[in-house]
């Protein structure tokens, strides 16, 4: 009883402490740095979506860190689960007594999976124009694979292809960052996308190397999350 009262008091205190932020939400003027990003992003980098100009370019190094964190997490999950299952081979679904997926799920997954992959690719290719980008597109691709895995438990993934895609896109991401460092002139920095022409605002082929970088991030995130789901699924069996 005492514990519950203390818990409620703590929650009430937290709500009271956070109330000013909630009350002023959407009212506060953007700060100096945010104003600079909002005003200079489209002109300097040619991105219609300001969030992307920050994520890929102004804060590109943080994004590289995020990708690294995700890679480490995937490697950890894969390593732990792979060691555990090396003792026994995979059992067939029928031997485990698993029931087959319903006809509705199978048909819907056959229809939806390719469309979802296409949507994911659209999201990360248009990261500099519309909301979303590499991370969101990659997750949507992983969701497409997930639907396929749910509908057909026997389905296996081409692990070699996935590892190749993940490794190559990660390498190309860092290589492009280094290219930005060397070929953009005096003010260049790591991951500067301006070594390609900026083009016209709002076109697909614009914003320098941002579409390429975000596509690589999308492929890498998609391959990694698919790998996590596949490892979890095989371990759950």
């Amino acid at each position: 009883m005492m514990k519950k009262v203390l818990l409620l008091a703590a929650i009430a205190l937290l709500a009271f402490a956070l109330w000013p932020f909630v009350r002023d939400v959407g009212l506060a003027e953007p700060g100096e740095l945010a104003t600079a990003y909002l005003e200079r992003g489209p002109a300097e980098l040619g991105t219609a979506n300001v969030v992307t100009s920050i994520v890929v370019s102004y804060r590109g190094f943080d994004t590289l860190g995020e990708v690294t964190v995700l890679f480490t997490a995937t490697a950890g999950v894969g390593g732990l689960l792979a060691r555990r299952k090396s003792g026994h081979g995979r059992k067939k679904a029928a031997e485990r007594g698993a029931t087959d997926a319903s006809e509705i799920l199978k048909t819907a997954s056959r229809l939806l999976s390719p469309l979802l992959v296409l949507f994911g690719v659209y999201i990360f290719l248009h990261g500099h124009l519309t909301p979303g980008g590499g991370f969101q597109g990659g997750v949507i691709i992983a969701t497409a694979v997930l639907i396929g895995l749910l509908a057909d438990p026997e389905a296996g993934l081409a692990h070699g292809v996935m590892h190749l895609v993940e490794g190559l896109s990660g390498f190309a991401y860092v290589a492009l960052g280094a290219v930005g460092l060397w070929f953009t002139g005096v003010q260049a920095g790591f991951l500067d996308p301006r070594f390609l022409p900026l083009g016209e605002l709002g076109r697909l082929a614009s914003a320098g190397a941002i579409p390429i970088i975000y596509s690589l991030v999308g492929l890498k995130v998609g391959a990694e999350l698919t790998g996590i789901l596949d490892a979890m699924k095989e371990d759950a069996e």
């Binding site: 969030v51 979303g132 979890m232 371990d235 759950a236």
Partner: protein, 94 residues
């Protein structure tokens, strides 16, 4: 007549209330499966709040990762726990 600001406040307040209810239900629920699904629902409602506040990028991430992928990872872990529990019970009975 409601102006835009009041409408936004009402929408966010309603979604926030639903989020709190879903979160409480998820914590208090006795079944792990409902807890997992309800925590996914909290993420889905949070993504709606982000959308109402004009942050579609964050909303997409929250909807895809919070409500789809995390829920699936939890569900796979749940089924793995069940398998181990069954194996344990079988071993104990024989």
């Amino acid at each position: 007549m409601l102006d835009g600001r009041t409408t936004l406040d009402l929408v966010i307040g309603f979604l926030g209330l639903l989020m709190i209810l879903a979160a409480l239900w998820s914590v208090l629920s006795k079944r792990l499966l409902s807890s997992v699904l309800l925590s996914g629902a909290v993420s889905l409602l949070a993504s709606l709040v982000f959308l109402a506040l004009g942050a579609p990028d964050v909303a997409m991430t929250e909807a895809a990762i919070g409500s789809a992928l995390t829920t699936m990872v939890f569900l796979y872990s749940l089924s793995r726990m069940k398998v181990e529990q069954d194996a344990h019970e079988d071993g104990g009975a024989s």
